[in-house]
């Protein structure tokens, strides 16, 4: 703890006050910066924040008062400096307190009468230094909050851009208002489900199997819409999770309308694997009706091609085989996998 403490700035120009105070603090492991003239005081306060400031009464010249005033005016908003004034016996503390409170906003003043009770002074300094540490915590929280708000703003904008794009593309190919409503709701619900899955897992990663099940399971009915999943555990990053879930959603709705899931006997197999640094994925429909490659410019297949191209860095393979649609894609696993999460709390429980 002592290593986190900041230096106590001591400004005491006369006699050997400064050295005596410094050695008192040092024997109690409190770091000190000694200062016996105003140049040094201005130099220190012009460039850094002390943990606390200790001044003797005779050090309170107009110039020194102005230096401290300027420092306080320039200090960051989270900062409040504690200033200890060591007053001579018999001095009028009340008048001095009023004057300093006026001159030094942004500080807290504490008066100790000489001769000093060292225990009292030391405990006052310790309290001030701990308050300083708490001020720094507040500063860190403020910075973190700013960063989070910035990130949130960015994500909301991105989601709105996605929703706008989905809406416009859906509207382009819809035949009626009911058609548009149904397709758009389905796509939006998928986007919502991925968001929930990411949020529940801490925001940055989701398991491949969990994600695919999330999209396909609503279609599973007794005796129909059968599917199987096979592949190793893969923790997907949020972009991969979004692209893959929307891709699987398009494939599933397509299968219901024209493919394997349009007949009771049809099945869908989703398989993925990792070979060294490569991730590959396949969607295979079997037992469905004979397919003809769609001629109309559809949103679904275009989205699948575009999303997998962006995700993997190379185009996927879409084949309309006699048994049903087959889609295969592959790319560097680093493009789909979430970065390992740093264990922020590791080691904190020790001791």
């Amino acid at each position: 703890m002592a290593t986190d403490l900041e230096e106590v700035l001591v400004h005491a120009p006369f006699r050997n006050d400064c050295r005596m105070l410094a050695s008192l603090f040092e024997t109690h492991a409190i770091p000190v910066f000694q200062c016996t003239d105003e140049e040094t005081l201005a130099g220190f306060l012009g460039g850094q924040l002390p943990g606390a400031l200790v001044m003797t009464q005779e050090a309170l010249t107009d110039r020194a008062m102005a230096i401290v005033h300027d420092h306080l005016a320039a200090q960051p908003e989270w900062s409040e400096l504690t200033v200890f004034v060591l007053v001579e016996k018999g001095a009028s503390q009340a008048a001095m307190a009023r004057q300093l409170a006026d001159r030094w906003p942004g500080s807290r003043q504490v008066f100790y009468q000489r001769p000093l009770a060292t225990i009292e002074l030391l405990s006052g300094i310790q309290t001030a230094l701990l308050a300083r540490l708490r001020q720094r915590d507040v500063r860190d929280h403020m910075a973190l909050e700013r960063e989070l708000r910035h990130e949130l703003n960015h994500r909301v904008k991105n989601i709105l851009a996605s929703v706008t794009a989905i809406f416009r593309m859906t509207a382009r190919v819809s035949e009626s208002r009911d058609d548009l409503t149904e397709r758009f709701s389905g796509r939006l619900a998928t986007l919502g489900n991925v968001h929930s899955a990411l949020f529940e897992s801490g925001g940055e990663a989701v398991e491949m199997r969990q994600l695919i099940s999330l999209v396909l399971s609503p279609y599973e009915t007794s005796g129909g819409s059968q599917y199987d999943l096979s592949g190793p555990p893969v923790s997907l990053n949020k972009d991969a999770a979004t692209s893959l879930s929307l891709t699987v959603h398009e494939l599933a709705t397509n299968a219901i309308k024209y493919g394997a899931w349009s007949v009771p006997s049809g099945r869908i197999s989703v398989a993925w694997r990792i070979d060294g640094s490569e991730f590959s994925l396949s969607w295979r429909e079997t037992g469905g009706p004979k397919l003809v490659e769609p001629t109309r410019r559809g949103y679904g297949t275009r989205y699948i091609r575009s999303a997998l191209q962006t995700l993997f860095g190379n185009p996927p393979d879409l084949r309309f085989e006699p048994g049903g649609l087959v889609v295969e894609g592959h790319g560097q696993r680093s493009r789909v996998e979430a970065a390992p999460r740093p264990d922020r709390y590791a080691g904190e429980d020790v001791g």
Partner: protein, 118 residues
């Protein structure tokens, strides 16, 4: 015209692609990072590139715009990063903010075509 989309959100990329085609032009490709796009641009003869600023390899849309500018290819920022885009306005022919207004994309396409044929 031959148009390219530098955009890391595949939904937005596809939306742009469709707008380009609806306006009678050809979308010859898209990429989600500047690094990837640059390797594709060597072989493409492009008339216009729509550029998002925040990509999978960072805020590299600015570098991409500069790269294109140096080679005489027209770029247009399509981004939510309005301040950054404005600060680099000299690198592009126009800035379109997100969410995208289709009319704005049509205007940019017409503008670039006009300046190319004149």
């Amino acid at each position: 015209m031959r148009v390219f989309c530098l955009e890391d959100n595949p939904l937005v990329a596809l939306d742009l692609e469709m707008m380009i085609e609806d306006a009678g032009h050809e979308c010859v490709g898209s990429a989600g990072s500047f690094a990837e796009a640059r390797s594709m641009w060597q072989d493409l003869d492009l008339d216009l590139v729509f550029i998002d600023i925040d990509l999978t390899d960072g805020k590299t849309g600015i570098d991409a715009a500069r790269w294109l500018r140096e080679r005489g290819t027209a770029g247009c920022f399509v981004t939510g990063q309005t301040e950054l885009a404005e600060a680099h306005r000299d690198l592009v022919v126009e800035i379109v903010t997100k969410p995208i207004d289709e009319k704005a994309i049509e205007r940019v396409l017409a503008l670039v075509q006009q300046s190319g044929s004149s």
